[in-house]
């Protein structure tokens, strides 16, 4: 850089700031509140420079500082038992938590939101969502091995939904497929509440040897700080554009995209390049650049380390030479990493960069001053205590209260409602109801989406959509692997945030156990409306309380996650949508349990009991009703059911297992039949008598802690004995009938698999081509 650069900006140095205390700064435009700006002035003992203001404004934003949720999120760290700590190698606070898998293996996973960008620009928003979460995983020292995407869009027939659907799915595919990471599952929910605020969450999982775990900290005076990967551009700056007022140059580009633009090729090269750095032990600390870019990376690395850091900002390689210091600090250009390297390793580090043709710039070094100093051509433009930027941001105890409408909502049950009129009961009506259910937008086949994702790459995918959990092999020698599932039900959580969040965990836990894996850890993505609305804040507080209580009861710790607030259109928030991901372990992925039956003559068992629980159900949604209370939570039963499913898998007692959740038994029976195109004969008379429900309720109720399994004849006695010994309700409800090519349920007109398949698979192509 020449001094010419300097002339483009009116560089606001620390010295200048000290001498011009009354200069007006655009703190409000950058999203800071007056009290927050005053706090910055207090911390610094002077007004911030333009560059400092840029850093504080992004790092103290809701997204980076968790200022509204922090007081509540603490529960995840507090409600932890010894059992839960046992396998946790790295907990909340790092880029992602790390769990011990045994045999020297560790696994790291995390789920994050990329909601707003995905509404503005679905392709790039969804693509960079994948990119960001994958870099979090790399930052821990792990090789990423799979991704998943829970998606929530507006109503299927709304004209704007197709725009979001096509863009987001193509973006996830376009980016994820190019990284060589199999996409092993996710969710697709359509609901009008997400019309103006779709939820695009992304999960990545990675594996490593214990000794390869890396943390984001800058330690060791004299160690060098390097930025590598893509160049820094003007994308993703958002509010920072107001700092363009710093510029003398009117000819610079004025409109910059607030949404980041991804380059998956650069990310793939970055992954391989980082793994080679880890292999050679060439970095002391590493941090990906995501939200808040260089502001976040420098302040977090320095803050987590043992000293300070000095950085020369003009050394940053730029895509756009007109960027101001504030913009460079805030830019969210993708595919960048920052690392701390000892002087002895500089040469080896550069050799790896050169091999992969990755650009890098040495920005500065670690110091022992306790200060983060950023200079522009030697002039100091930032001089802060990094902790005040990264960790000591504002924390709010936002007011919250149970909404005035909650009681009326919970009193409005489905049974007996206008929408419940003409409840199906005749055999033909029930058959039509089952068909309608499995063709509905939320229950229909999602392969229109998943066939656009590579599920095979890596050669370790043992199970993927549409089975209950995605399963990936970690160790080819032993077959050791992990299973993952994500779940949320915004309707349940709207009716009761405490129980709704627990139900999300219960379902993800159940899905993992259904695959045969032992649930080990949780990552959550808490999608809510504005925390400044006391109703929403109550939903958030209740959900976190419910989820943390349930984690303790199920013995699975939260190892990381993300909070996404302000998801609303005008004053109307989305349904509270805590998306919960559960990770489980399989000693040998060959023992995984698929969700469909295959062998003729195997007995079909229903585990668990059924109550009349239709409130918030998919059936109620089909009839346009939302009210009452969600299904009852019974975590002790969930744990018991999980143990049965895991043992059954380990000992080869079941050949298939499918959890019962949205759509109840009806959906599970159809899905298990269509999975391999094998029919069954079902008789529910004993169930109706035992549980005191009618046939419609047996089919459509969404009672929890239930699953269906198919049991080989030779294993039936052993399986029944196990359930009996554990005192868990189990009932033989039918038999696999390979020849019938139909699902026959007593009291329901025969459903041919061809007709069911047509209904189930036809919906998404009908709307999206």
């Amino acid at each position: 850089m020449t001094t010419e650069t300097n002339k483009k900006f009116n560089i606001d140095t620390v010295e200048n700031a000290a001498n011009t205390p009354d200069t007006e700064l655009p703190w409000a435009e950058l999203g800071l509140k007056e009290n927050e700006f005053d706090e910055i002035v207090k911390v610094l003992g002077r007004r911030p420079t333009g560059a400092e203001l840029a850093m504080y404004s992004v790092m103290w934003s809701e997204h980076c500082s968790y200022k509204s949720s922090k007081n509540h999120l603490r529960q995840f760290g507090q409600k932890v038992t010894e059992e839960m700590k046992k396998d946790m190698l790295v907990g909340i606070g790092e880029n992602a938590g790390v769990t011990n898998l045994g045999d020297g293996w560790a696994v790291t996973f995390k789920i994050e939101s990329h909601n707003s960008p995905s509404f503005v620009e679905p392709y790039q928003g969804a693509a960079t969502g994948i990119g960001g979460i994958v870099r979090d995983i790399i930052s821990m020292g792990a090789r990423p091995v799979a991704v998943m995407d829970p998606l929530r869009f507006g109503e299927i027939d709304h004209p704007d939904t197709a725009r979001v659907m096509h863009g987001a799915v193509a973006g996830i595919g376009g980016y994820g497929n190019s990284l060589g990471l199999p996409n092993i599952g996710g969710e697709m929910v359509f609901d009008a509440v997400y019309q103006g605020n779709p939820l695009v969450n992304a999960l990545a999982v990675g594996v490593m040897r214990h000794e390869d775990i890396r943390l984001a900290n800058a330690s060791g005076k004299g160690n060098r700080v390097v930025l590598f990967g893509a160049r820094t551009g003007g994308d993703g700056i958002g509010g920072a554009s107001v700092l363009a007022s710093e510029s003398f140059d009117d000819t610079k580009p004025s409109k910059r995209p607030a949404v980041q633009v991804g380059d998956p090729f650069a990310e793939k090269v970055l992954i391989e390049c980082c793994l080679e750095l880890f292999k050679g032990s060439l970095v002391e600390g590493i941090q990906d650049l995501g939200a808040a870019g260089i502001s976040c990376a420098t302040s977090e690395l320095a803050s987590n380390g043992d000293g300070g850091m000095q950085v020369e900002l003009t050394s940053v390689l730029l895509r756009d030479p007109t960027l101001t210091p504030g913009e460079i600090l805030m830019s969210e250009s993708q595919e960048r990493m920052m690392a701390v390297v000892t002087p002895e390793n500089v040469e080896a580090f550069e050799a790896v960069m050169d091999k992969w043709a990755v650009e890098y710039a040495w920005l500065g070094e670690v110091t022992d001053t306790g200060r983060l100093i950023i200079t522009w051509e030697g002039e100091v433009i930032v001089d802060v205590d990094p902790r005040t930027v990264a960790h000591d941001g504002p924390v709010y105890d936002r007011p919250y209260a149970r909404p005035s409408w909650q009681d009326a909502l919970q009193a409005d049950t489905f049974t007996g409602s206008v929408q419940d009129a003409g409840r199906p009961s005749a055999p033909s009506e029930l058959a039509a109801a089952v068909t309608e259910l499995v063709a509905s937008p939320n229950m229909c086949d999602k392969s229109w989406i998943t066939k656009q994702y590579d599920r095979y790459v890596g050669g370790n995918t043992a199970m993927a959509f549409p089975d209950d959990a995605g399963v990936v092999r970690v160790d080819e020698k032993t077959g050791l692997g992990v299973a993952l599932a994500t779940d949320a039900n915004g309707r349940y959580t709207y009716l009761d945030p405490y129980n709704g969040a627990q139900l999300a965990l219960a379902e993800a836990y159940r899905n993992v156990a259904t695959s045969g894996a032992v649930p080990m850890a949780v990552s959550d993505c808490l999608n809510f409306g504005s925390p400044e609305d006391p109703d929403v804040m109550w939903q958030l507080a209740e959900s976190i309380r419910g989820l943390s209580d349930a984690c303790m009861e199920l013995g699975v710790p939260v190892t990381g996650g993300n909070v996404s607030l302000y998801n609303q259109t005008g004053s109307t928030p989305i349904h509270p949508s805590p998306v919960v991901a559960v990770l489980g372990k399989l000693d040998d992925v060959a023992r995984r349990t698929p969700s469909g039956w295959q062998e003729d003559g195997q007995a079909i068992y229903l585990l668990g009991t059924t109550a009349a629980e239709l409130d918030g159900s998919e059936w109620a949604k089909l009839r346009g009703h939302l009210g009452g209370l969600p299904p009852r939570v019974d975590l002790a039963a969930e744990r018991q059911l999980g143990e049965i499913l895991i043992n059954a898998s380990r000992d080869g007692m079941v050949d298939s297992a499918h959890d019962l959740s949205e759509g109840g038994l009806a959906a599970a029976l159809v899905e298990s039949s269509l999975r391999y195109g094998v029919g069954a004969r079902i008789a529910l008379e004993d169930l109706l008598e035992r549980d005191g429900v009618d046939l419609f309720t047996a089919l459509f109720s969404e009672s929890q802690a239930r699953a269906i399994v198919s049991v080989p004849r030779s294993e039936e006695v052993r399986f029944k004995d196990m359930c009996t010994a554990r005192g868990f309700a189990h009932l033989r409800i039918g038999v696999v009938d390979a020849a019938s090519n139909a699902l026959e349920i007593n009291g329901v007109e025969t459903l041919s698999l061809d007709a069911l398949r047509e209904a189930h698979e036809g919906t998404l192509p009908k709307y999206f081509g």
């Binding site: 060589g180 090729f265 090269v269």
Partner: protein, 251 residues
């Protein structure tokens, strides 16, 4: 040369007759299925050797696999930049030499082979314009190539297909010539997943040592990790074919 970092270690096949045969697997920046191709070589009994695109010498390998992925991000055109890698000129020479080095290009590897003019024609975007991942039935039309000798002529096999730019095109004259010379090695059966001319999934050169195809045989080599029907191992024949040819033995 680069080392391919694996996740864990793979089981090794028992046939010691084959493990002396070395098959190179090329990695470009953006290659994705290199570990998978190396695993397939191992499971077939051979020894996989990692080759780096920037190498200026072709290591002492008996055959080469150019795996799938998005080399150089598919920028400009899939395979167009990779074709100029230093190692590619060595591979092109060796494939055209009297020794007729066996070369298999899978997906992006096939695209690189057409860009290198080792094989005729080209791939354009799928006719439906989307990435498509599915299990695909192929018919083996020619079982005399270096990579298909272990299959029966006319045999139908099931292997994964996953790509966005998989539509094979060539002018009519070239297509007629390929048909006449028996150089169409694989054809899509039942469903043409990308609009390829004459349902062509894979072709060979005149000598039969260079084969390219869009579907992924290396993802159908291990039960439980490939297609769910046919045991999921229909792709193994590619690798056993070339290994048997190298060691000079019959099946």
């Amino acid at each position: 040369m680069t080392e391919l970092p694996l996740i864990g270690e793979a089981p090794v096949a028992a046939d010691s007759r084959l493990d002396g045969a070395k098959i190179g697997v090329v990695t470009f920046p953006g290659t994705l299925d290199d570990r998978d191709a190396a695993r397939a070589v191992r499971l077939a009994g051979g020894t996989a050797v990692a080759l780096w695109h920037a190498d200026t010498e072709l290591a002492d390998v008996d055959a080469v696999v150019i795996p799938g992925g998005f080399s150089y991000g598919d920028y400009l055109r899939a395979g167009a930049i990779s074709r100029f890698a230093p190692l590619m000129s060595k591979i092109i020479d060796a494939a055209n030499s009297d020794a007729k080095l066996p070369v298999l290009g899978i997906c992006n590897g096939f695209q690189i082979l057409t860009e290198s003019h080792l094989l005729p024609g080209s791939m354009i975007k799928n006719d439906h314009l989307k990435f498509l991942c599915r299990d695909q039935v192929l018919r083996v039309e020619n079982n005399t190539t270096a990579w298909t000798a272990d299959y029966e002529a006319g045999q139908e096999i099931l292997v994964p297909l996953k790509n966005q730019d998989g539509q094979y095109i060539a002018d009519e004259k070239t297509l007629d010539a390929l048909e006449a010379e028996g150089r169409v090695v694989f054809r899509y059966v039942g469903f043409n997943p990308n609009g390829s001319r004459r349902d062509i999934a894979g072709i060979t050169n005149a000598a039969g040592n260079v084969v390219g195809l869009m579907p992924h045989p290396e993802h159908a080599v291990e039960p439980g990790f490939g297609p769910e029907s046919n045991a999921g191992t229909d792709g193994l024949g590619f690798f056993t074919s070339v290994l048997n040819k190298i060691v000079g033995g019959a099946k």
